[in-house]
Amino acid sequence: MREIAFGALFSLVVALTAFLTAAWPVPGRPVASYFPPETPASQIFLAISHAGGRLLEAGGDPSLIISLGTGPGYVAALYRAGAWFVVDASFARLCLAESGLAYR
């Protein structure tokens, strides 16, 4: 039982790792960034702009933003601007659907 419990936990870790790997943002492709909810939309837009990106879509919830950055340090710049996490935009489909937006 101990072995099975350990295997199950490690399976979750590996599955999560695989998921994160798949969701890892790719330079040159749209990314979905999630900021703290209290962050003003203007600050988020300003951060994207300073990072060299451009806004693609924004839903009713301003904390979830789809953007596209061309520079190699774009994702890192978003994290420095206060983003909680940045993933491939395709993985934000469910979130966008729930927020009333569609990812193109």
């Binding site: 199950a8 399976s11 695989a18 798949a22």
Partner: protein, 486 residues
């Protein structure tokens, strides 16, 4: 190491190779599909392979290694499915899950299939919701997820059963083989123990025989030395016995002669003793006669003494009478004087009378002189009587002493007679003992002769014993040689 462990050890190399091969496959597939995360997938696949390799390096085939490597393999398949996202072969790549599950059966551990199946199902379920492109190219479908999950669990259960059964079969076979091996080893050990015990018994027997031989040789050698010493002692003793017997014989002859001489001397002594006894008897008789004579002399002396005493008393009586006569003569003389005076006064008429008076006076004087002579003779007699009395007293005393001496002599003679009788008895006993001693000496002489012969026999026996001892020593040496060679 058991068979299961050996299989797992060998399978570990296979699975590590498969993990690194999957990493290569991820790289190839990433390049082939043109995905923009090819390097990331390849890196993740290599990271999973490195993690499994490290855990295997640290823990060997421990269950942690089995779980980690199994999930890492499934994780690589997940990545491979990602790599084939939106590719027509993506659905076919799912079969690689089944292939890897089948490969993982090489661990012979049913416990890895449940977590692996759980990982696969969770992966499909989550991605079907979040990012269905990652698992199903045609879009998310819960039914497909359930179908895949069912298939995966069926395969996992089948593999678990097969692996568990295979493992039990292997363990049973191994146990049987171990039992057979153990039995074989036990038989071999028993055979070796038997051989060892046989060899040990042979060695112990040899050691015991050698020890017995050494002990026997030591004791026999000691006994042989003692026998040799005893034989030498016996020989010298027999020689001494021979010498002693000879000397005893010589001394016996001399003693026999001495005994005969002693017997003769004893007989002579006996005769002398008899004569001595006779002499002593004569002495006794003479002493008795002397005593009797002494007694008689004493009696006679007493009689003489009495006679002399009476003679002395008679002399006194005579002296008294003589004194009376002397007194009478004095009176007569005095009367004659008075008569002369009277005659003178009568003148011539008184002349005759005067003459008679003269005559009477002369007679009176003669009587007085005679009386004095008699008185002197009586004194001489008295003196002689006193001398005779003193002589008789001295003689009486001498006779008393003589009587005492005679009594003492008689006593001594009696004692001497008794001693002579004792001497006679002792000499008689000595004569008898001398005769007995002579007989014994004769016997001793014979015994000494026999002892001399016996000593000769002993010397001969000692020589034979020495020869037999030497022969025994030779036989013992040969016997010990055979024992030590056995």
């Amino acid at each position: 190491m058991t068979d299961v462990q050996q299989l797992r050890t060998r399978f570990a190399y296979v699975l590590i190779a498969v993990l690194w091969a999957n990493s290569v496959l991820l790289s190839i597939a990433g390049n082939a599909t043109g995905t923009d995360k090819a390097s990331l997938f390849t890196t993740c696949g290599m990271a999973l392979a490195a993690l499994a390799t490290t855990v295997w390096w640290v823990f060997g085939t421990h269950w942690i290694t089995r779980q980690v490597s199994s999930i890492a393999t499934i994780g690589q398949v997940m990545l491979l499915v990602y790599v084939f996202a939106r590719h027509p072969y993506q659905a076919d790549i799912h079969m690689y899950f089944f292939a890897m599950l089948a490969v993982l059966s090489g661990w012979l551990d049913w416990r890895i299939f449940l977590p692996a199946a759980f990982a696969i199902v969770a992966h499909h379920a989550v991605l079907n919701i979040v990012h269905h492109v990652g698992v199903f190219p045609d879009g998310g479908d819960v039914d497909r997820v359930l179908l895949h999950a069912t298939i995966v669990f069926v395969q996992a259960i089948a593999l678990s059963w097969a692996v568990a059964h295979l493992r039990r079969t292997l363990e049973t076979s191994e146990n049987a083989r171990d039992a057979a091996t153990t039995a074989k080893l036990a038989a071999e050990q028993a055979r070796q123990e038997v051989a060892t015990n046989t060899e040990q018994a042979r060695s112990e027997r040899q050691a015991v025989l050698l020890e017995v031989a050494d002990d026997f040789e030591r004791k026999i050698a000691g006994i042989a030395r003692d026998v040799i010493v005893s034989v030498q002692t016996l020989r010298s003793a027999s020689q001494q016995m021979t010498v002693g017997a000879t000397e005893v014989a010589e001394r016996s002859d001399a003693a026999y002669l001495s005994s005969h001489q002693t017997s003769s001397n004893v007989i002579a002594v006996t005769q002398a003793t008899t004569e001595l006894a006779a002499s002593i008897g004569e002495i006794d008789r003479q002493v008795s006669e002397t005593a009797r004579i002494v007694v008689s002399t004493t009696t006679k002396a007493g009689t003489v003494l009495e006679t002399v005493s009476q003679l002395s008393r008679k002399a006194d009586d005579i002296g008294n009478i003589v004194g009376l006569i002397s007194t009478i003569a004095s009176q007569t003389n005095l009367l004659a004087l008075n008569a002369s005076i009277e005659a003178a006064r009568f003148g011539q008429s008184g002349s005759g009378f005067a003459v008679v008076a003269q005559e009477v006076k002369a007679l009176a004087n003669q009587t007085s002189r005679a009386t004095e002579d008699i008185q002197s003779q009586i004194e001489a007699i008295r003196t002689s009587s006193d001398d005779a009395i003193r002589a008789i007293d001295a003689m009486y005393t001498s006779i008393g002493s003589l009587n005492q001496v005679s009594a003492a002599v008689a006593t001594v003679v009696e004692q001497q007679s008794a001693a002579t009788i004792g001497i006679a008895h002792n000499i008689d006993a000595a004569a008898k003992e001398t005769v007995t001693a002579a007989s014994n000496i004769e016997i001793v002489s014979k015994v000494a002769a026999e002892a001399g012969e016996a000593a000769s026999y002993v010397a001969q026996s000692a020589d034979r014993l020495a020869e037999q001892s030497a022969q025994l020593d030779t036989e013992v040496a040969q016997f010990l040689g055979r024992i030590r060679a056995a």
